[in-house]
């Protein structure tokens, strides 16, 4: 049963046991009835310090038990039964009474608003954040439009978890394992199961053209796997770009009702460190590990004005990696629809953007600013040596022979 009910039933039961044993050891005096009741009352009263049941509602059954026991000694001979009956009654009343008390009321709040998050936070112990002591001075922590950038050392995941848990969000992850990329499924799912939003509900949506090749894997109870068959294309670029279309359609038909947040991730990655609720926000982009130090004109944006993905020189914030992006299901819908529209229009004009759907993504995120950014810790290209600034490598691409795997 609920921990709250236990705290009420325990003192009642204890009182009953003490009363019962008392009848065996010595003559019944009123004292032996009142003492266990009072003890139960004291234990119940202190129990209210732990939870938010009103003291009154615990003491009432105790007091009633006391009165009935006391009067019982007057009216009839004391037998063990007459001690146990009021105790048991009190226990039943207390047990049944609790659901009515602890249900939150919609009208005037009778007591201080203590929801689960604030209870958890009020018990937490963490170092004080000092205004004149920044956590990191080597990296940019906020974009000029005040979107936070996730770097190790800047956030307290316990507080974030406490805030997040209460909202009961469901997060979806869309990933594609087409043709030879099925070999990466086990590594992806195995590490994601361990490190991705650990302890929170996640639906992994695995699109594959070989559903029979998906290894059977045991996932954590709050993680689910959905295998969705998908067509493959002869060109790997097309497979890559059509992901946008597939995601957009799937949101419209299914995911809009199934999840609150949706992330698109490449399958050929492994996770090595926790990726938690710090990634959850309305529109999230990951800063590319290849280009996070470059000036905007060196970024690999599409520059040809004929392409829909073109970004003129002199513009651009960051270079975002298409391997990991996401946000609320409605924002991701807008993003994928807009990007795929750009891809389609480019195809009609016989042009293909420099980095395929990543170019379109960058164009979109330049004019629709992400509400949160992930540092290159969240997608690190394995081929790059890791500098000091990247204190943690949470997710990185798997070493592979690109030519071989794409053939």
């Amino acid at each position: 049963m609920d921990i709250k009910k236990v705290h009420i039933v325990i003192p009642i039961v204890m009182a009953g046991i003490i009363g019962y044993l008392g009848t065996k050891i010595m003559d019944i005096k009123k004292v032996h009835i009142v003492i266990p009741i009072v003890m139960a009352g004291i234990i119940g009263y202190f129990g209210t310090e732990i939870m938010d049941i009103k003291k009154v509602h615990i003491l009432i059954p105790i007091v009633m038990a006391g009165i009935i026991g006391y009067l019982g000694t007057k009216i009839m001979d004391i037998k063990e039964v007459h001690i146990l009956i009021p105790i048991v009654m009190a226990g039943i009343i207390g047990y049944l009474g609790i659901p009515h008390i602890s249900r939150p009321s919609s009208q005037p709040v009778r007591q201080v608003d203590l929801d689960e998050t604030s209870l958890v936070i009020s018990r937490m112990s963490y170092p004080q954040p000092f205004v004149d002591k920044p956590q990191r001075t080597d990296v940019l922590l906020m974009s000029p439009w005040l979107a936070p950038i996730m770097w190790e050392g800047t956030f307290n995941r316990d507080i974030l978890n406490a805030q997040y848990r209460q909202k009961k969000f469901v997060v979806g992850v869309a990933t594609f394992a087409v043709k030879k990329y099925v070999r990466f499924i086990e590594g992806f799912l195995g590490s994601a199961n361990k490190f991705f939003l650990s302890g929170h509900r996640v639906n992994f949506y695995l699109f594959t053209d070989h559903p029979e090749k998906v290894p059977s894997m045991k996932l954590a109870p709050e993680k689910s796997l959905f295998i969705i068959p998908v067509q493959n294309y002869s060109r790997w670029q097309d497979i890559s770009m059509n992901r946008m279309d597939i995601i957009s359609n799937r949101i419209r038909t299914h995911w809009h009702y199934e999840v609150d947040y949706l992330y698109s991730m490449d399958i050929d990655v492994q996770m090595f460190e926790h990726i938690g609720v710090e990634i959850i926000d309305t529109l999230v982009g990951t800063i590319s590990s290849w280009q996070y130090t470059k000036p905007r004109d060196s970024n690999s944006y599409e520059r040809r004005p004929e392409s829909r993905a073109a970004i003129p020189s002199g513009e651009g914030d960051f270079y975002y990696a298409a391997s990991f992006y996401g946000g609320s299901v409605s924002e991701v819908y807008k993003l994928t629809t807009a990007c795929f529209k750009g891809v389609t229009e480019d195809r009609a004009n016989g042009i293909e953007a420099k980095w395929h759907e990543e170019s379109h993504l960058n164009k979109y995120l330049l004019y629709h600013k992400p509400t949160r950014l992930l540092s290159p810790e969240y997608y690190w290209d394995e081929e790059l040596p890791r500098p000091q600034i990247i204190r943690v490598k949470r997710l990185s691409s798997v070493r592979k022979d690109l030519e071989e795997v794409r053939s």
């Binding site: 954040p129 004149d132 940019l140 000029p144 005040l146 936070p148 600013k369």
Partner: protein, 366 residues
Amino acid sequence: MEICLFFLLHFRRHDLLESGEICSHTLPNPHSHICLDDSLEWASPLPSILPSLPRNLLHETTICRREARPAFPRWVFVLLCRLSYPQPRSLDQKRLDVLTLTPWLAPIVWEGTFNSELLDSAYKPLNLTIGVTAFAIGKYTMFVGRFVESAEKLFMKGYRVNYYIFTNDPQVIPRVQLQPGRSLSIVPIKKYSHWQEISMRRMEAINRHIAEVSHREVNYLFCLDIDMVFHNPWGVETLGEMVAAIHPGYYNVPRSQFPYERRSSSAAFIPDSQGDFYYAGAVFGGLLKQVYEFTRACHMTILADKANGIMAAWQEESHLNKRFFSHKPSKLLSPEYVWDDTKPKPPEVRLIRFSTVNKDYKEIRD
């Protein structure tokens, strides 16, 4: 038997207090703590039943958890036109001397961390209206003129703004020339004899006003003290779901020295070992629905204290701090946004945007 009587009384007292019919001084008080000001008697009971938000507002809100899919109040900034601004560089932190992000990832707004032009180009097309509440009661009406005049020049320039001046004496409020798209309305309220009581009733008054009036008129609401003046621009960088400001007197002090309410019998109690920042009661704000929820919650803890015959150390500021500790704000304003002119300006505070007017407290609190 005495025990039974005592418990029955206790039960009855809670019941009656909830209906707002009795004053806490008339019944035996099991938590007998001395009020901060012994002579203070609440003129009339604080209402425990607050008006609820109109239905149409509830559907958009994140507060209403009975909805199947919660709403996402965080807006994505859409740039509709090309804008030229310096590139943000990943390794180039703008402010090396101050904390710019809280452990729960709320931005702390300091000069240098944001680009006003970029934010304006994203916010202006949204046609927002921003509300400002300020209480000018008794002699505090003398501050209205300077407050509004400076706000006209520096507060949310170029946006629609509604000033709501809560006062007991509408006649003496000066008529200040306002920019187009900006309006000032006077909200008559009762004057109470004790300044603490005036202060504590602000939460209830703001909450009621949101439910009755401002929900129809504004998107965001800021609740500011009137005895202050704007000295530098205060713009849309301050907008957020729930916004708090760091108190200028305690921003570099260990948490055990924050003037939180320290008596555990108060609903505003925060122990020595806890606390993030000490927030100023003079500035708070955010999305209308969030401010509604916030003022409701603060009012409820004020009520709870009143039932126990206790008044928090810094009145509603203590309750504000308690609420912001358990329900963390989504954005913090640095002390640039709430400064005390009697303090010397430290190097971290590059700009003072909003600060107190020098006054003689004895004289105006009357």
